[in-house]
């Protein structure tokens, strides 16, 4: 089929100019859009009001339909559970016996820990939660891994606050509307969380890989300290994420790369807790006094 030739406006000057100005507008529009992108690169929190409003507008659809999706998702799980009941039962029994022993050990350690803390006069830093909410949606058609929470600034959610589930860390709030907010998941390529290995305390950085897994980067070069099954928790370095929140479990150790899976799967968890920033001062710019002192020290 030959394409229709109605795009050629013929000999009419007016129509020719009209077509020409259409292209001028389109090219100018592309340049304007690129400018907007550059602004977004320099200041990712720009246009917060506009983005927050669009989040608020789509929230009813997202939040309302989530129950339906959960029902169907659960249905598939239940059917497969039914068929695997026997073998699963045996495996779970074995696991339960092992876990029970570990639980007793953990209780002993906890008691010892409390005792030592009391000796050191460290206060239990447990500032509570900002909000308890649900994950209702995600940016499923994009390279970025973002999720939508059904609580916004009215519930006290602010940009920058960490979000966790009972299973582990989910991410950090990057946009907030009045009734909804958006979370940068730990598996996003732009997310990096300071973590430490539970086994021996080795510090590392957990950088998202963009496909639901996490890359672990050690701070020192040389041999790879990770083993399959190792659990990583936040270290509290950087002052944003509170220490001791489980983040990921090592799934595969390759030569130059360590792949970990996040412990909290945003597609399955029921509730997400928004936590206050661990050390609010860490996120703030330096005070003028510190600034001048630093400059004086450099000279």
């Amino acid at each position: 089929m030959a394409p229709p030739s109605t795009r050629r406006p013929g000999f009419s000057r007016r129509a020719q100019y009209g077509l020409f100005f259409g292209y001028v507008i389109a090219v100018a529009g592309v340049l304007f859009a690129v400018l907007l992108l550059l602004i977004a690169v320099i200041d990712p929190t720009g246009f917060a009001a506009l983005k927050g409003a669009s989040l608020d507008v789509t929230k009813p659809v997202t939040a309302g339909g989530r129950g339906v999706v959960n029902f169907f998702g659960g249905l598939g799980g239940s059917v497969s559970d039914y068929f695997q009941a026997g073998s699963q039962n045996a495996a779970l029994r074995k696991q339960l016996a092992a876990e029970r022993q570990r639980l007793i050990q953990a209780r002993v350690i906890e008691g010892e820990n409390q005792h030592l803390r009391a000796l050191l006069k460290l206060d239990q830093d447990n500032p509570g939660t900002v909000a308890v909410t649900r994950i209702v949606g995600s940016s499923f058609a994009s390279v970025r891994r973002l999720a939508t929470l059904s609580a916004g600034s009215i519930a006290g959610v602010r940009v920058g606050e960490p979000v966790r589930a009972a299973e582990g860390l989910i991410g950090r709030v990057i946009e907030s509307g009045h009734f909804a907010s958006r979370v940068l998941l730990v598996s996003d390529g732009a997310s990096s969380v300071p973590v430490r290995l539970v086994r021996d305390g080795t510090p590392a950085i957990a950088v998202g890989h963009g496909d639901g897994t996490i890359d672990l980067k050690t701070l020192e070069m040389g041999k790879n300290p990770f083993r399959r099954g190792d659990v990583l928790v936040t270290s509290g370095i950087g002052g944003v994420f509170p220490p001791g929140v489980p983040v990921a479990v090592v799934a595969a150790v390759q030569k130059d790369r360590t792949v970990a899976k996040p412990l909290a799967d945003p597609a399955r968890i029921d509730f997400a807790m928004v936590l206050p920033i661990y050390q609010p001062l860490a996120d703030k710019p330096l005070s003028p006094q510190t600034q001048t002192a630093l400059e004086a020290a450099q000279q």
Partner: protein, 171 residues
């Protein structure tokens, strides 16, 4: 409708439908981003772009290149892209297809699919590059499953768009 010419109201209604269905269906496809789907791997095709592409390939004479700007802005807001991503990429797609239309004299189903596949590949790579600029360190390999699914999904979306086009022009 069996009448040749309807009442004035019917004619106005049909005219409205004829003019707005393409734009409204694209806006609706952008609204699909609000669906409560939570996935941790990028595999779901960007339906809004596929709908827009299908309309553009089906009715080249209907679209001015700058129409993609406001549509892209709406998509950016719905899909949580950084503002300007879909605006730039969609308008560039339209400009490139205007150029292709002026060069290629003959088209059929398979060439349309081929052009659409190239456009989808460039669009996915462009979206990846924007994410890269925004600080994401995800490798390009991560978007390959989404790219393949989008190319496979294109004929299905085109089928729906052709159906909408028939309904739009029906009297």
């Amino acid at each position: 409708m069996s009448r040749i010419a309807g009442s004035r109201r019917d004619v106005a209604m049909l005219g409205f439908r004829r003019q707005t269905v393409p734009v409204l269906s694209t806006l609706f496809a952008s609204l699909l981003h609000a669906l409560p789907i939570v996935v941790t791997t990028p595999i779901v095709p960007d339906i809004a772009f596929l709908v827009l592409l299908s309309w553009r390939l089906l009715r080249p004479e209907m679209w001015q290149a700058h129409t993609a700007l406001p549509l892209g802005l709406f998509d950016d807001l719905m899909a949580a892209h950084p503002l300007g991503q879909s605006m730039a990429l969609w308008t560039l797609t339209f400009l490139v297809f205007d150029f292709v239309d002026s060069r290629v004299g003959w088209r059929d189903y398979w060439t349309d699919w081929l052009f659409a596949s190239v456009a989808i590949a460039l669009y996915t790579a462009g979206a990846w590059y924007v994410a890269h600029m925004m600080g994401s360190q995800a490798p390009l390999v991560v978007v390959v499953p989404q790219l393949v699914l989008s190319i496979i999904a294109y004929p299905l979306v085109a089928l729906i768009v052709v159906g909408l086009d028939r309904w739009r022009l029906a009297r």
